[in-house]
Amino acid sequence: MERLGLITLILHILIVVVGGFITVFANNIVRSLTGLILTLFGGAGLYFLMAAPFIGIMQVLIYVGAVSVIIFFAIAFTRRAQFGLTESRKSSQYFLVCLLPILPVAVLGYFLVKEITTSIPVPQISSVQTLGKFFLGPYVLPFELISLVLLIAMMGAVILGFEKKRIQMEQLDQAKQEE
């Protein structure tokens, strides 16, 4: 049974790794988004393996269901701008891509391998009721602040989206005044 769990874990890690590479290095932006969705599904599987099915379902719902669709809308709205992408990369980009991962891998990886020595082999499953009571009891302020952040993000998106109309109206007003 434990062997089966290990095989499933390795399979999901493989999904995450392959998806990550597709996400970053695919030439087509739609293919890159598909890689992101693959990675997110792999992450959801990892949550399920950690005995946190609620978070796994939320990962599929929020990330795959909402965030990926938003990114797809961004791609669809700016489809014209994606074509003819023949800009060459700067040499600083090649330099940074080779050099940037070294720092976190060296520092964080060293401390991870050094410090993490024990782990619970079989995590216990916890009920969603506990989480709900936790959110509505001691953590009610962050919970409300998250809803405030989401509301403000929504308002900001709407205001930014209507910007063109406002500029057009200002230009019309200016033209009328000049007449």
Binding site: A51, Y63, V67, A81, V97, I152
Partner: protein, 102 residues
Amino acid sequence: MNYLLIYHLVALFLMCMGLIGVVWRRTFVGILISIELLLNGAGLAIMASAKLTPTADFLGQAGTLVVMGLAAAEATIFLALVLVVFRRFGRIIVKNTNLLRG
């Protein structure tokens, strides 16, 4: 090699890929996708730290849910910004977006 270390190494991998993507991608949408990778790695690390240690595990679940909510808000704002940049410049390549206007 225990499970907690494995999960943290996966999270570290996601963080590295996100950082590489932010540098490597040339369009705003590509950068947004890379930032999602970064945030997903953060959520995974928080969850593993709470679930595979003797910490109360609803702390980790709450933290991961907060990260997910912030990721959704960030994606919304980023979509609006991409649309504004697309209208003003006609392209969404980061290199060409170099005009500041009051």
